[in-house]
C-alpha cells in the first residue's frame, strides 16, 4: 500500500517536473514574439521610457503607417512571394523529374551520378559567393529576380527526397503497364508518378518555400535596387535606418512574420512532420 503510494507521489513529482520544464521552454519560445507585438503597438516615447511597457498599447496602426512610409512593404512582400513561389514550383518539377529518373529508369552511371548529387549537399554554397556575384554581373542579372530564382532551382536534397519517395510509392507494375499502352516516359511521369507523389510535393514544397522565403545572403547580394528587395532584405534596411524607431521596426518585423506563422499554425502537424522527416531521412 505505502509502496504504491510512494510510487504515485514519485510519478506526480516527475509529471510536475516535465510540465514545468515544457512550460518554461514554451514561454521562452513565445516571449520574443510577445515582446515584438508589444513594441509594435507602442510609440517610440513609451518604448524608451523607464521602465519599458510590458503590455500592448494602442499604436498598432500608427506604427504600421510609419512602416509604409519608410519601405515598400507590400511591394517587397509581393517580390518575396513571386521569388519563393517560382523557386518552389521549379524545384518540385525538376526534382521530381530527376527523382523519378533515379528511382525508376535505367541508364549508365546512375549510381555514380546520384552520389555526386549527395556530395554536393555537403558543400556550403557560400564558398563561391564572390564568383557567383561575378557571373551575375556578366549575365547582367543583378537586380533581376532570375538571379535569385535560377540558382535557387539547384536542390540536391529535393532530388534525394523525391527519389526515396517515388521508389517506394510508385509500383513498377503500373509503369510497365503504361509502357505497354505506349505511354512516353514523360507521360508516365505526368499521369502516373506526379499524382501519386502529391504528399511528397507537399512536404518538399513546405521546406523549399520556407527556405526561399527566409533566404537573406544571396538576395541581399544581387537585389540591390530597393524596388527589387525581398521582404528579408527590406526589413534589414528598415533596421539600418539612422533614426532607430523601435516601434516602427518591430511593426514591420511583426507583419512580415505573421503570414508564415499563421500558415504554420494552420498546418503545423504537416510542417513539423515534413521538416523532421526531411532531416531524419538524410
Amino acid at each position: 500500500m505505502s509502496k504504491s503510494e510512494n510510487h504515485k507521489t514519485k510519478t506526480t513529482i516527475q509529471k510536475a517536473v516535465v510540465y514545468l520544464f515544457l512550460t518554461v521552454g514554451s514561454l521562452l519560445s513565445l516571449f520574443p514574439f510577445y515582446w515584438m507585438f508589444t513594441m509594435a503597438t507602442r510609440t517610440n516615447r513609451e518604448i524608451n521610457s523607464f521602465p519599458p511597457p510590458f503590455t500592448p498599447g494602442a499604436d498598432l496602426v500608427g506604427n504600421f503607417q510609419k512602416v509604409l512610409d519608410n519601405m515598400d512593404f507590400f511591394g517587397s512582400m509581393a517580390n518575396s512571394l513571386f521569388v519563393s513561389t517560382s523557386i518552389t514550383v521549379g524545384v518540385l518539377f525538376l526534382c521530381s523529374l530527376a527523382g523519378y529518373s533515379f528511382a525508376k529508369l535505367e541508364f549508365k552511371g546512375k549510381k555514380f551520378l546520384f552520389s555526386v548529387i549527395l556530395i554536393t549537399m555537403m558543400i556550403p554554397p557560400q564558398l563561391g559567393l564572390i564568383p557567383q556575384y561575378y557571373i551575375m554581373t556578366q549575365l547582367q542579372w543583378i537586380n533581376t529576380f532570375q538571379a535569385v530564382i535560377v540558382p535557387g532551382l539547384i536542390n540536391a536534397f529535393g532530388i534525394f527526397w523525391m527519389r526515396q519517395y517515388i521508389q517506394d510509392a510508385v509500383p513498377d507494375e503500373l509503369i510497365e503497364a503504361a509502357k505497354i499502352d505506349g505511354c512516353s516516359t514523360f507521360r508516365i511521369y505526368w499521369n502516373i508518378v506526379a499524382p501519386t507523389v502529391l504528399p511528397a510535393f507537399a512536404t518538399l514544397g513546405i521546406i523549399v518555400f520556407m527556405q526561399a522565403w527566409n533566404d537573406f545572403l544571396w538576395p541581399l547580394t544581387v537585389l540591390r535596387e530597393p524596388s527589387m528587395h525581398t521582404l528579408q532584405v527590406a526589413l534589414r534596411t528598415l533596421n539600418d535606418a539612422r533614426q532607430m524607431d523601435y516601434g516602427m521596426i518591430m511593426s514591420g518585423t511583426f507583419w512580415a512574420t505573421v503570414p508564415l506563422i499563421v500558415i504554420f499554425l494552420m498546418f503545423n502537424k504537416l510542417f513539423i512532420q515534413s521538416l523532421s522527416e526531411g532531416a531524419v531521412k538524410s
Binding site: 514574439f33 564558398l127 536542390n155 512574420t257
Partner: protein
C-alpha cells in the same frame, strides 16, 4: 530484340535529359564559382575594372589582418556557445515531449518549434531590441533589478558574442528538439519499461537508453549544426550593421564585408579559400570522431 534495345537507349536518353537541369545549373552556379574562387584569390579586383594578378598578396594581406583572426575566433566561440547548449537542451526537451506522462504534447511541440518558422533577419531584429543598449531595453531593465549597470550589448566584446549565440540558440533549439523527438520515437518503449522494472531513474534512462540509441540522430544534428555555425552571417550583419564590428564579425561576414563594403573581391576570395579548408578540416574531424565512437562501441 532490336526494338527493345532501341527503347532502352531511348529511356536512357530521356533519363539523362531529366537529370540534366541539376548538373547544368550546378556546374554553372555551384562548381564553376567554387573553382573560380581559387583563381580570383590570386588577383586584385574591385568588381568593375580589370583584374590584375598579384600572386600571394591577398593571402598575405588576410593573414596579417588581425580582424581575420578575430573572425575565425568569433566563428568558433559563437558556434560553440550557440550550438552546444542547443544539443543538450534539445535532447532534454525531446525527452520531456516524449514522456508518456503528459498531455497537450502537440501544443507544447508547436510552441517550441515556432521560432524556427521565423526568419533569421526577424530573429536578429527582435533580439536586437530585447538586448538594446538603452537603459529601458528589456534585458538591461531586468539587470537593473540586480543592480547591474546597463550593458552595451552590440558593442562590448562578450555581450556581442553572447547575444548572437542566444539568437542562434533560440531559433534552432526547437528544430533540433523535433529531430531528436523523431529519433526517440523510434526507440522501442519496451526498453524503458524494462529499465523501470529494474528500478532505473530518469537520469539513468536518458544516459543508458536514450543517448546511445539516439547516436545517429545526434551525429546528424552535430554535423548540420557545425556546418551552419561555420556559415553564420545574417545574425551579425543585422545585429551589428554593415560595419560589422570586430567583436562579432564571423568568417562569412568577413568575406562579405571585404567584397561588398570594401570592393576587395580578391582578398574576399582568399578568405573564402581559407574558409573552405577550415570547413574540410572540421568536417574531417567530425567524421573521424563519429567513426571512432562507432568503433569503440563495437569493440566493447
Amino acid at each position: 530484340m532490336k526494338k527493345s534495345l532501341d527503347e532502352k537507349k531511348k529511356t536512357a536518353r530521356t533519363a539523362y535529359f531529366f537529370i540534366s537541369p541539376f548538373f547544368i545549373l550546378y556546374a554553372v552556379f555551384g562548381l564553376f564559382p567554387m573553382l573560380f574562387s581559387f583563381y580570383l584569390a590570386f588577383f586584385k579586383w574591385n568588381g568593375l575594372s580589370d583584374m590584375t594578378f598579384v600572386g600571394m598578396e591577398n593571402f598575405n594581406f588576410i593573414f596579417s589582418d588581425p580582424i581575420f583572426y578575430e573572425a575565425i575566433k568569433n566563428t568558433f566561440i559563437i558556434g560553440l556557445l550557440g550550438t552546444a547548449p542547443q544539443i543538450i537542451v534539445g535532447i532534454l526537451l525531446a525527452f520531456a515531449l516524449n514522456s508518456t506522462l503528459i498531455r497537450f504534447r502537440n501544443v507544447f511541440r508547436t510552441m517550441i518549434f515556432l521560432p524556427y518558422v521565423t526568419s533569421i533577419v526577424a530573429v536578429a531584429i527582435i533580439f536586437g531590441v530585447i538586448f538594446s543598449n538603452q537603459e529601458a531595453g528589456f534585458i538591461n531593465y531586468i539587470l537593473s533589478y540586480f543592480g547591474i549597470d546597463s550593458i552595451n550589448w552590440n558593442i562590448q566584446n562578450w555581450p556581442v558574442k553572447i547575444t548572437i549565440s542566444i539568437m542562434v540558440f533560440w531559433r534552432w533549439v526547437g528544430y533540433n528538439t523535433i529531430i531528436f523527438l523523431a529519433g526517440m520515437q523510434s526507440i522501442p518503449n519496451a526498453l524503458y519499461e524494462a529499465a523501470k522494472i529494474d528500478g532505473a531513474t530518469v537520469w539513468q534512462q536518458i544516459r543508458l537508453i536514450t543517448i546511445p540509441m539516439l547516436k545517429p540522430t545526434i551525429t546528424f544534428v552535430v554535423f548540420t549544426a557545425t556546418i551552419g555555425a561555420l556559415q553564420l552571417f545574417t545574425e551579425p550583419l543585422v545585429f551589428l550593421g554593415r560595419n560589422l564590428r570586430q567583436e562579432g564579425i564571423t568568417m562569412v561576414a568577413y568575406l562579405w564585408k571585404d567584397a561588398f563594403v570594401f570592393n576587395a573581391f580578391g582578398t574576399a576570395s582568399a578568405a573564402a579559400i581559407v574558409l573552405f579548408f577550415i570547413i574540410i578540416i572540421i568536417t574531417g574531424i567530425n567524421i573521424l570522431l563519429t567513426n571512432r565512437i562507432d568503433q569503440t562501441k563495437k569493440a566493447r
